[in-house]
Amino acid sequence: MTGTERTEKEAAGGNWLAVAMAWTAVGVPLAWGIYKTLEKALILFR
């Protein structure tokens, strides 16, 4: 494997890590919001 190929592969790996971090950053508050909403909505089914 050449140096350039290795760098490209490392960049791609870093990219997916950044994607995971970005989705976590928006996903965690959204999941909390959904949880709070469902908690409130449960009263409908009691």
């Binding site: 791609a12 990219n15 959204l30 909403t37």
Partner: protein, 496 residues
């Protein structure tokens, strides 16, 4: 310093992962989506002077002093509610006016300006609460915040469509779902903050506004700096545009200034306006309708709504609030589901489903009430809300199919005036029809039925508009020279 906001600086380098763009868009939409959740502030703000209970204004004050100045007394919820009108009027107006600027300035600059407007609006509103000056609240969150809403809402549309030519609906659906989900995070957060800041002399609202303004500014700025535009001619790896071009997806582009001259623009305006008017109408009546139609049955008491005692009605109100929360969840799910599905079945067919199936559902709701099925009633409303959200989320991709991608963000901005119109039309229709029905002596729980049939008629108009959609006439398309000139203005040909 402002160089970092320039569109040329946002062109993605080789190896950039396009999946980083939707979370950047979501970061902005989840913040501005709090516009839907502002009602969480009404009750505390309506007793910001009295703190534990509202202080009524002296009866001898003239209406202007009583409503606007309110010296030493509390604002009415109806006065505060004007904020919603300002939000949606300014959202539509600013999206329409500044859409063209966005295409040239790029999404990062637009996103950052939106962050300043939305976050700054909260800070001005905090000052308004602190000084007890309602005009500062309207100016801050209403006008300035409304501008932030408009710019923030359309900022990622064009960029996402260019990054995801193979999944236009899904990409814009993901971002626009954030607008539906903003209140789900913002409302409980505001509630927590108000409880935290509440003291014997303050309801904690201005402190909450300051905190949320700063949080929203930071998150939106992070989102704006996450935006990257693809280099001209970029395509997803391994993807080739379909060999057999579909008639309803153009490869040409229509200029922003020419789009309103096409019948397609106004037909789509009608499609969006009718879908949203009916949806807003139904959202407004969902919770009171559930309570009035099913009454005591919701809490296992064999009594009608009118015969219930105060504490029983309070219990019903919390069930109604839970129902509204559930609807907002289905609104979001619908945005992602229907917009993604439209990539496979086509936009026209997707709207055909919204209108045809929607009419059936609206007309079936009274039946669910008559047979006393809460599950069926709730299920119908949840399905309706998925299609309301789906209508918002699918329209950018529909526009891109019809008018091309060059000006899609700006044309979308102009189309959002349909939303502003619907924001007035839907509630006015629902309220007036209901008042008219009650005045004619119709029972309160039955008064909703006529309203639902009228809303179904709105969907019929939308169905006709959608059925009339045809590809845009070639005479409206930009020539190659015009396109080149426009791309130069939009800094897309830099370095060529």
């Amino acid at each position: 310093m402002f160089d970092v906001l320039a569109k040329e600086r946002t062109v993605a380098g080789p190896g950039f992962n396009r999946w980083l763009v939707p979370p950047a868009a979501l970061a902005i939409h989840l913040c501005i989506g709090m516009a839907y959740g502002f009602s969480v502030f009404w009750l505390p703000l309506s007793q910001s002077v009295g703190v534990t209970a509202p202080v009524a204004c002296p009866a001898d004050l003239d209406w202007f002093t009583r409503l606007i100045v309110a010296p030493g007394c509390d604002w009415k919820i109806s006065t505060l509610g004007w904020m919603y009108t300002l939000f949606f009027v300014y959202l539509g107006s600013f999206a329409a006016i500044f859409g063209g600027w966005l295409e040239h300035a790029g999404p990062r600059k637009a996103g950052f300006v939106a962050a300043c407007c939305w976050g700054g609006g909260f800070l001005i509103s905090a000052l308004g609460v602190h000084l007890h000056e309602i005009r500062l609240l309207w100016l801050g969150s209403g006008v300035l915040g409304g501008c932030g809403l408009g710019l923030g809402y359309i900022s990622p549309v064009s960029t996402l469509i260019k990054w995801f030519p193979d999944k236009r609906g899904m990409a814009t659906g993901l971002a626009i779902a954030g607008f539906g989900g903003g209140a789900m995070i913002g409302s409980p957060l505001a509630d927590l903050l108000m409880k935290h800041f509440r003291t014997e002399v303050s309801v904690g609202v201005w402190e909450t506004f300051v905190t949320m303004g700063i949080i929203y500014f930071l998150c939106m700025t992070a989102g704006a700096f996450g935006y990257r535009v693809p280099p001209l001619g970029w395509k997803p790896k391994g993807w080739t545009p379909p060999a057999a071009q579909k008639a309803m997806i153009t490869t040409r582009h229509v200029h922003l200034y020419r789009a309103p001259n096409t019948p397609q623009f106004w037909l789509l305006w009608g499609v969006l306006c009718m879908n949203v008017s009916a949806g807003i109408g139904v959202i407004g009546m969902a919770s009171p309708m559930l309570q009035e139609v099913f009454g005591g049955r919701l809490i296992d008491v064999d009594l009608g709504f009118a015969a219930l005692a105060g504490d029983q009605r309070q219990l019903l109100a919390s069930i109604g609030a839970g129902f509204t929360g559930l609807l907002s969840l289905f609104n979001i799910v619908g945005r992602i589901f229907w917009a993604s599905l439209s990539d496979y079945i086509g936009r026209k067919r997707t709207y055909l489903v919204f209108f045809a199936f929607g009419m059936f559902l609206y007309a079936s709701t009274p039946y669910a009430g008559q047979i006393g099925s809460v599950a069926l009633f709730v299920g119908i409303f949840c399905l309706i809300l998925t299609m309301y959200g789906g209508g918002f989320a699918t329209v950018p991709a529909y526009l891109a199919d019809m008018f091309g991608t060059q000006f899609v963000g700006a044309i979308h901005g102009r189309l959002l005036t349909a939303w502003s119109t619907a924001g007035i039309l839907g509630p006015v229709l629902v309220n007036y029809i209901r008042e008219d029905q009650l005045a004619r002596g119709v029972a309160p729980q039955a008064a909703y039925n006529t309203t639902l049939y009228v809303l179904a008629a709105l969907l019929l108009i939308g169905l006709v508009c959608n059925a009339l959609m045809r590809p845009v006439d070639g005479k409206f398309h930009m020539s190659d020279a015009e396109l080149d000139a426009e791309r130069r203005l939009a800094h897309e040909l830099a370095g060529r």
